[in-house]
């Protein structure tokens, strides 16, 4: 009976460990990639807007060589502030479900003005058509560089779904953790100090698993060379992944330390009780 009771306690401790682990992972993701404020702070921290601004200029230059126009026509058609404002529109569309479009009218006007000035207004009807296509291409290029996707609404729907599941999961996990702790208390009523050991075991398991996961991912994935879309996006993504792994390491170390401390405390209490019991056994004979 005692062995069965012990096994049940360890099983409950394992379930508790898994529940805590899930809660930690959910918290790590909720506070990083799933948080709009966090993503915006990362964009600022990694100078994302400056890099995208440079990218837009470089992408425009790709078209100028075949256009027969002077490179000067691209001067000042986009401002850094506009890049920042438009990037925030996209982030808002994704996280808040807005449907705001990037306005390229200003770019169109400035580019047309620069082209007119460059050609001194001497533009034939055929050239006008070709220039209009060129201007449209530049505007589309700008939109593509800023947004990278036409699926903002789909991403938002997915994001909302994830958010809903996470909130549900959080509630379920918290209830699960409560139930596990109550069960452990009930199973260790006669030796209540064992609760410390079981919770200690759960924390130790979580600590080891998180540290293992962090080391495993670090050894398998070349985070420093992940490249997606452009330099700006890649650096933000790398930074977010490093933050996530850093948090996994932090939580892992803290949980492992607390787990070991709890187990040592349990060992101490058990020892004290044993010595006390031994003393009590010898007392009547004395």
């Amino acid at each position: 009976m005692k062995v069965v009771k012990n096994i049940i306690q360890y099983i409950v401790a394992t379930i508790l460990a898994l529940a805590i682990l899930l809660l930690i992972l959910i918290n790590i993701f909720s506070s990083s990639i799933l948080s709009k404020d966090y993503v915006l702070s990362k964009l600022d921290e990694q100078n994302y807007y400056d890099k995208i601004y440079e990218d837009t200029k470089s992408n425009f230059e790709n078209y100028i060589h075949q256009s027969g126009l002077d490179e000067e026509v691209l001067n000042d058609i986009v401002a850094k502030e506009k890049v920042k404002k438009d990037t925030k529109i996209i982030i808002n569309n994704i996280y808040n479900g807005m449907d705001e479009k990037i306005n390229t009218e200003e770019i169109k006007e400035r580019l047309n003005e620069n082209i007119n000035n460059s050609l001194n207004g001497k533009i034939s009807a055929t050239q006008r058509k070709s220039i209009d296509t060129f201007v449209d291409t530049i505007c589309k290029e700008y939109e593509a560089t800023i947004s990278h996707t036409n699926y903002e609404q789909k991403i938002h729907t997915g994001y909302k779904q994830i958010e809903r599941y996470i909130n549900l999961a959080k509630k379920g996990i918290l209830i699960g953790i409560g139930v596990c702790i109550v069960l452990i208390i009930l199973l260790t009523l006669k030796r209540i100090y064992r609760v410390i050991a079981r919770i200690g075991i759960a924390f130790t398991i979580d600590g080891i698993l998180l540290l293992f996961a962090q080391n495993y991912i670090n050894s398998k994935v070349r985070i420093s060379s992940i490249t997606i879309l452009n330099d700006g996006t890649s650096e933000v993504l790398r930074s977010i992944l490093n933050d996530i792994l850093g948090n996994v390491l932090k939580y892992g170390s803290v949980l492992l330390s607390i787990g070991i401390i709890l187990i040592v405390i349990y060992g101490l209490i058990k020892s004290i009780r044993k010595i006390k019991r031994e003393k009590e056994q010898y007392t009547p004979e004395n």
Binding site: Q66, S67, I217, V221, I263
Partner: protein, 206 residues
């Protein structure tokens, strides 16, 4: 006191062993259930990781006796030069056709063969003054010379065609005969966005 320490260590170690044992079971079970998927995900992430060649110098391609290139150049790297004496062209050739590559010189379509391999080779360049603006002066019989680290290849122009921008992907790729196709935007003195391409076809002489 001695007994107290021994008992404490014993109780602690037993609980730690249990914790390790349970962790091992969880990891084993996790690997059994999700191991393959995790590995697959990791390799997928690594596929979007570059940088393997970062810091390394570009290695020149080498061709073996069976006319097979042993080490192809990496995307974006220069691997040769193209000379068209008739229009004073002497430009570097890069492997790849991205717009940022074309800023530097002539691009080589990554879906086509390399000089000397015996198939269709597709090169492209802007119609700017420094690149192919003077393509209109080319005539049948003019020479094109491509020099790579593994040899020099001479081609003779046998045809010129005007195609739409969208037809570039349909340029014939075959391996029966070595043909060099070089194209640029048309009209040559275009202002704005060019929707046509001028293609020069040349066959291998030596």
């Amino acid at each position: 006191m001695h007994n107290f320490v021994i008992n404490t260590i014993k109780a602690t170690i037993i609980e730690l062993i249990v914790a390790l044992f349970i962790t091992a079971i969880i990891l084993g079970l996790g690997y059994f259930l999700f191991g393959a998927k995790v590995e697959e995900t990791m390799s997928l992430i690594n596929k979007v990781s570059i940088g393997v060649s970062e810091g390394k110098e570009a290695v020149d391609p080498v061709m073996n006796e069976e006319n097979k290139i042993i080490n192809y150049p990496e995307y974006g790297n220069k691997y040769g030069t193209i000379k068209i004496p008739k229009i004073d062209i002497d430009l570097p050739v890069y492997y790849g056709d991205a717009l940022d590559i074309l800023k530097k010189g002539v691009g080589h379509s990554s879906g086509s063969y390399f000089p000397g391999e015996g198939g269709s080779i597709i090169y492209m360049g802007h119609n700017s003054k420094k690149v192919f603006r003077r393509f209109s002066e080319l005539q049948i019989g003019n020479k094109i010379q491509v020099t790579t680290s593994y040899g020099e290849f001479n081609y003779k122009i046998y045809d010129m065609q005007l195609i739409n921008e969208t037809e570039v992907d349909k340029l014939p790729i075959q391996k029966e005969k070595e043909i060099l196709m070089v194209y640029t935007c048309y009209p040559f003195n275009n202002i704005g966005y060019a929707t046509q391409r001028y293609v020069v076809y040349a066959e291998l002489e030596s």
